[in-house]
């Protein structure tokens, strides 16, 4: 009777880098002998190796889309049961900051849509008879996509930092502001380059990295607010 190799045995064999195609000098004797006569187990081993190879090629971690942070925050906030206290400055701030952030996001999204729609209609209106190119510089789709994906998170974090600045040491605020200026200058530079070369995916990656750096800096700055004593 031919007893096939177990999944565990196949896994051990597949995991050994030195094992060659179907038989190996390093595989245990019985398993090697079985592999040499059993086409089914050889096929299963090949499939397992292929699967492991593809799994190893996967990235160790994937950056979540930037707006996930908002969803997480909203979920946390919605789960909180906060008693409303008359005259609570924190409650007032939370509501005003939320409204301010929502207003800013609304303005940014509306303005972006307006610009895109206006440009599209201008291009259509100009039609083939237009002899002069439009003076309005076009914003590449890649740039709009990157800007849009990070803008809401940035707005929220900037609003939170503005509210938290009073609780941070002036020296810390100065440090954060200094680093923000460095990142903003870098972002402006890459945005310009991307406007000139909209199809450059490396620039998109570099711009995304700068936005992530800014988000990370703002998050850390907000977390520096001292914890209140229980």
């Amino acid at each position: 009777m031919n007893i096939h190799l177990t999944l565990e045995q196949l896994g051990d064999l597949a995991d050994e880098h030195s094992v060659s195609a179907s038989t190996s000098a390093e595989a245990p004797g019985d398993e090697r002998q079985h592999l040499s006569i059993c086409a089914e187990c050889r096929t299963r081993l090949d499939e397992l190796r292929s699967l492991l190879g593809r799994a190893r090629a996967l990235p160790a971690e994937i950056e979540p889309p930037p707006d996930v942070w908002i969803g997480v925050r909203e979920t946390i906030e919605s789960g909180k049961v906060v008693p409303i206290r008359a005259g609570s400055s924190r409650g007032r701030w939370t509501r005003s900051a939320g409204l301010a952030a929502a207003a800013v996001i609304l303005v940014v999204v509306t303005a972006t849509i307006s610009v895109v729609v206006t440009r599209a209609s201008m291009s259509t209106a100009a039609g083939p008879l237009a002899s002069e190119p439009l003076a309005v510089p076009t914003t590449p789709a890649s740039l709009i996509t990157v800007d849009r994906s990070y803008a809401p998170t940035l707005e929220q974090l900037l609003a939170a930092l503005a509210a938290n600045k009073g609780a941070l040491a002036p020296a810390t605020v100065a440090r954060v502001d200094r680093s923000l200026r460095v990142i903003d200058a870098a972002i402006a530079e890459v945005r310009d380059a991307l406007t000139q070369d909209p199809g450059n995916t490396t620039l998109v990656e570099i711009l995304s990295a700068s936005y992530r750096q800014k988000i990370e800096l703002l998050r850390r700055a907000n977390e520096l607010v001292p914890t209140s004593v229980p």
Binding site: I183, A193, I206, L224
Partner: protein, 318 residues
Amino acid sequence: MKKDTAVMAHHALTRVVAAASMAVAVAVPFASAVGQQKVGLRSAVTSTPSVRLEGAISSIRVVGWKHDSVELVGMIPDGAKLSGGFVRDKPGPAMILKGIIGPAVGAKMIFEGSTGKGAILELRVPLRARVWIKAPDASVTSSGVIGGLDISIVGGSVTVSGPSRQLNVESMDGRVTIDGSTDWLRVKTATGDISMTGGSGDAGFTTISGAIRVTDGQFERAKFESVDGPITFAADPSRGAALDFQSHSGPITLRLVTARTNAAIEASAQTSTIVADSSTFGRPIPDGRGESLRTDLGSPDATITIRTFRGIITLTGR
């Protein structure tokens, strides 16, 4: 007989009340310390406690030791206040009946300073403890803690020695120095320099204007990011490694032992240049306003990706 039973019942009730009161107060607070005085706190803990210290700390030395206990000693300055304490699980019914107090599962202590001065502390924890420290301007040193460290500072410095499973350090201006291998590692600074000697299976180094310098050790998956700070990598990619280097204007320098490096290298300098030993790495080619280079070292099973907007990329042997 009746009296004995009554006495036993009374004692049992006393133990129940004592243990139950502990169960309600999970974090046991202790009196605030005022004035320049010594701190000396200790408790039996589990072998993997979580210890969190936060607030006005000037310097702290964390030591992993072989005892299942936590000890915090040091000095706190005038006007400083210490809150928090050791944290215990709620005891089960059997423990309540027997009046047993189990080991603490952790500690949370907050130092409040009023004079701008911070506490000077030494913390001893079990080897496999997880330690969180959040202090605005502290000098933090750690040795022998293999469980995990999570440190957040603004200024000051962080120095970690010895191997650890997890290490997460966030700093604004503070310098971060790591000497030892770490399974999982994240270091983030604004302007603080980062230097590491030792490898990691999964590492992330992020800075805005600080310098990142990594020497020795093997790295499996690692990401090195800066805006205008320099990045220097003089370690080795392990088998199947994926290393990613990125900067805006910071120079990126890789010093590889080419004889033992098996990697496909892809470098892109968007508006700047690539300096490479052409006999080993080949010649960079013009690419838009900058240069790019692709080359294989040995039998490539690792990938090294380098991207910069206007930093100089340098590839050399060592």
